[in-house]
Subunit: 210 residues, 2 copies
């Protein structure tokens, strides 16, 4: 059966990681409202929140395809992910200003925070109009070395922190702040590759010769 693969993310880092696997896919961005009700934020683990947001993104893209018509494939595999940064039960999203980025980097300084990516892989069979969704999550711990405000300002001036959860990019200048990772490192960039490889194989996509 003809399968179309879609990455439901506008993150250039996720695209770069998925490109490593060497298959063709399209990008369709979901525009879900990522704001969670306060009682969910308070009572859910990082994994539950990230997985739920990934699931919502995948279904939003699936529903969009149904509404707009999907003529190019009988079956669609939609890959969605959501990465969150958490320290002391507080979520760190993308900063809205340089001041917010600075406050985040001050909070994370010298401490170990959690990075959790939720993944949803949605299979959409258009012949039978059936959806089936697999979800997984991956947790890593990231320990920042100590740094001072001058260094934070210099880092913010690179422009890198502004569109990143937790206001840093592991694979960029932010890597100079990271003393230690404990866990999957592609997870910290936004897509835990060993898990993605396994999930894609589980749904019949050939990856890396298998």
């Amino acid at each position: 059966m003809q399968k179309r693969i879609i990455l439901a993310s506008q993150s250039p880092r996720r695209k770069q990681l998925l490109d490593l696997l060497g298959f063709e896919y399209d990008i369709i961005v979901s525009n879900i409202d990522e704001t969670l009700p306060e009682f969910i934020r308070q009572n859910s683990s990082a994994a539950q929140i990230a997985t739920e947001l990934a699931r919502q993104k995948a279904f939003a893209v699936g529903k969009g395809l149904r509404q707009n018509g999907n003529n190019s494939a009988q079956e669609v595999i939609i890959i969605a992910a959501d990465t969150i940064v958490m320290l002391d039960n507080k979520l760190y999203g993308k900063p809205n200003s340089a001041a917010e980025a600075k406050a985040m980097l001050q909070s994370l300084c010298g401490k170990t925070h959690q990075v959790c990516t939720g993944i949803a892989i949605l299979l959409y069979n258009f012949i039978e109009n059936k959806m089936h969704c697999l979800t997984e999550s991956e947790n890593s711990l990231v320990s920042f070395r100590k740094y001072d405000d001058a260094e934070i300002d210099a880092y913010i001036n690179t422009g890198e922190p502004m569109d990143k959860a937790g206001a840093y990019a592991l694979q960029g200048v932010g890597g100079c702040l990271v003393a230690k990772i404990d866990g999957c490192y592609t997870n910290v960039i936004g897509l835990p590759m060993p898990k993605i490889v396994k999930m894609l194989r589980d749904v019949g996509v050939q990856v890396l010769g298998q």
Copy 2:
């Protein structure tokens, strides 16, 4: 005093990492013989071997500058590094053939190996003709997931393993094999950035606003 910074490495990964710090530097590659006497390989830790090789690379570049004349600066800071992969007391260098790469990847499969980078920073004062060398090393543990020969073959076909110690690149397709890192992740790519930042500051180079 005018200082010239030199990276004594031809690794594009090290260049990419050092570029993150935003200062100007030249690349001069040392061509030292990296073969170590058997008694040293047998009786030295990964850190001792990597540090010694880094030191040799830095001094080779320093001596080359002295022989060829150095008119562009009164003081030179030479950064050299050597990264080795070790499992069960066996060193894994760059594979010389696809068969050797395959054997390495088979050995590393499903196991946790050690990646150690030795760093040498050599200060060469040309006015006083004095050299002073700082060395450090960084250790990380890398756990590979399980994979089979078909996957190894597909990975070798990407061409990526051939010029990498241990026959993989963390920042490339090889990242799909890495289940877990415990330690500094830039160390695994070839240059432990938090340590480099500290060492450069110790010798008076301004890095990231400090």
